[in-house]
Subunit: 337 residues, 2 copies
């Protein structure tokens, strides 16, 4: 089975598990509350469907990690649902925090039902994520369940720290490269490393193997995020699906930007003067490239990619699932090629 | 040891445990984030101190429940911290949702640091609550840890449902008595029943005993909430510390109000016309009393108090801690006497 075939089998199982977890809210009095969650998850409401659900990359990684150890991936389904629910809880709160009115092309939860409800929707999704982990008890020893929960909680703490750093950066003008990694480590890599770590743990990997899987996920996340940063400024709009250079207009503290801020050249001078307008975005992106922001980020992306692949190789994933995991990593790391 | 003596020993241990849990955020880059949590918890910033921390009733109940089974309450400290952190996470988000600018006499987190940060502070507090439970592994079997986490997650789901109902009621004019209990069950009783339940579980109570403790906490919560509703309309300002009848001005869907709405008399007519002003509050409160709202609520409070005490008696709490638990229950249930 290649990656596509794995996805065809695993994705319906993931959706089913997610739906049954979220259904905890599906009671008479909370029917409408339940709907708010199913809307965000992409199952109901205007624009529901595959476009709206997202790719479910994180739960896929959990299942592939378990399967690549020769274990039964179905026993990891509650954990797979948990990481996807954590991801989505953070998106619901993120959208409030960033004042974003669209998510995957649809109105965000807070624009439909208001900020107070959206906060509560995110909270409920987070509770359900944690509760899902406890369902592992059906197929795993209690000590493994507790260990999984501990990994997930530590990850979520990193998520909130990454979110804090990201928000606190908005007011700062003294940022440089060293401020990048703690933020991205928390916001992107922590959850991906939890996926590979937990998947391996539930596949009965030993400590050393678990650590290799964890590191693979961590560096996969870093490489992925840096690529996303590059695409957000110089990406091909027809590939990324969002308008090129939008990250500059939004003032995002991406790796190329923080690199150039540290150099204190023309780009930094312009950046500190306030928001980049759509008119000047091409010129500013060119300036950033001239000052080495792009090549620096490409170098780092390549470095993190190699580190990720090294750890994947150390993880020694087995069989068809192992090959599918490598295929998925390559897809994520070279998605603009 | 009576209740006061128990409090004198247990409260410092609770604060120490809480502080060490929250210290997970106390790193160089997140120092200011950590401060936001310590401020809310009442330890730092303007007005810090006993007035600002709240009474820590919930963690005390966890510890007394464990001790009343003859077990070592110190092994329950991480769970005690967890329920208090859950309570405080919900307060931080509540204050955003209700647009409240004061909490225990101090500016709320969102008024000091903005809504996006406050959402993240609540999220982090919730993560730390869940993470604290995992620390039980030092003194309890993994199966007990997983069971404790499951109880807490189920409780938190009820909290979010109660919060959803409370918010959804704001737009409704067709409310009646039957809408009261599911809301209060989620918002107040769920967490108190988790306190007694978890405390008993960690004290090695059997299933039947656990259920009696759980029911005690649940009805204690209901009785307490109904009393709070009565005091919020007819309470003595010098006792409650908040301006009498403020619940009417705030449009709170309390038990006396929902009772009278169901009767569809003069009070209901006035209530549906929009916010009660400070000028008319005495007259409206008198009307509500005339229509039986007060006596109905007092009756229900008495009924729930008796039910709570019946379950406490069934729980058969032992020793000095058992007596302290009864003392605490009486204090909570008769606090205006």
């Amino acid at each position: 089975m290649n990656l596509k075939q794995h996805i065809e089998v695993m994705l319906p199982a993931i959706e089913k598990e997610l739906q049954s977890q979220v259904a905890r809210l599906n009671a008479d009095r909370t029917r409408h509350f339940h709907e708010m969650l199913t809307y965000h998850m992409g199952w109901t409401g205007e624009g529901a469907g595959r476009e709206a659900t997202g790719k479910r990359i994180r739960p896929l990684i959990v299942l592939l990690a378990t399967a690549s150890l020769g274990a039964d991936w179905q026993t990891s389904l509650p954990a797979a649902a948990a990481v996807e629910l954590v991801h989505n809880f953070s998106l619901v709160h993120d959208d409030v925090q960033d004042n974003s009115d669209k998510r995957r092309g649809r109105p965000t939860v807070w624009t439909k039902w208001g900020v107070p409800m959206a906060i509560n929707v995110g909270d409920a999704m987070f509770v359900i994520a944690n509760r899902a982990v406890m369902d592992l008890i059906k197929a795993h020893p209690a000590s493994t369940v507790a260990r999984t929960a501990t990994i997930l909680h530590d990850t979520c703490l990193e998520l909130t720290c990454g979110q804090y750093l990201d928000m606190s950066y908005e007011e700062r003008t003294d940022l440089s490269l060293e401020d990048y990694w703690p933020m991205v480590g928390g916001k992107t890599s922590a959850l991906l490393s939890a996926c590979t770590h937990i998947g391996a743990l539930l596949g009965n990997a030993g400590e050393t193997e678990q650590e290799a899987y964890r590191q693979f996920g961590y560096h996969l996340g870093l490489a992925f995020q840096v690529q996303d940063d590059i695409l957000g400024i110089w990406g091909d709009e027809t590939v990324t699906g969002k308008s090129t250079a939008s990250d500059l207009v939004e003032g995002k503290n991406s790796l190329p930007v923080l690199y150039a801020l540290g150099r204190q050249g023309k780009f930094a001078d312009r950046w500190k003067q306030g928001p980049i307008t759509a008119n000047e975005v091409k010129a500013v992106a060119a300036q950033l490239e001239d000052e080495g922001g792009r090549s620096y980020a490409e170098e780092l992306s390549e470095k993190e990619t190699q580190t990720a692949l090294k750890y994947l190789s150390e993880s020694n994933p087995r069989g068809a699932a192992g090959e599918a995991m490598l295929e998925l990593a390559n897809m994520l790391l070279k998605r603009n090629q």
